[in-house]
Symmetry: C2
Subunit: 102 residues, 2 copies
């Protein structure tokens, strides 16, 4: 089983590129701290279709079960990280889903 | 090179499960009609963390270049599909990004 935990973010205008880079780096470090994260990828909106509603960054982590996502959400390493990230964020969407083919 | 084209959707309340299933199936058919789509996956929000801001479905297609995404966006098979999908959608976010590891 594979569960994707996808966070889509718009940072506040006051947030610098350095702060965003640091957020990405710190998220990546969670992979070492929380073994239930099986993979982590991030991406920045390329900005060609302009249908991103202001959202610019995607953070995608992969888990093996719903329980592992709940464990991640409540893990102190993650809640500490969230308390640093969230004040920098103007809006976000967080989705958990099991990817399927048609 | 890999470009992810991710559509996050909230369907209108009037839209039935059957209509949503049909949207997923029709998106899947685009893979056969548009060879530049290298992969297609979809997922439904599991709904455990309740931070999805009403969005419920993710449609993720994979391309090999920005040009291929632009070709897809303007392909008549895709624009026909969009004209069926979009009237069913209350809100959406569309992001194109190159997935990266930390």
């Amino acid at each position: 089983m594979e569960i994707k935990h996808v966070l889509v973010v718009k940072f506040k205008e006051s947030v610098s590129e350095e702060q965003i880079e640091d957020c990405i780096k710190q998220y990546g470090k969670l992979v070492d701290l929380i073994p239930s994260i099986k993979a982590f990828k991030w991406g920045k909106e390329i900005g060609m279709l302009n249908l991103n509603q202001g959202f610019t960054h995607v953070f995608e982590s992969t888990f093996e079960s719903v329980e592992d996502v709940i464990g991640f959400a409540t893990n102190p390493h993650h809640t500490n990280y969230s308390s640093v990230l969230m004040p920098l964020v103007e809006k976000f969407v967080l989705l958990d889903f099991q990817p399927a083919k048609v």
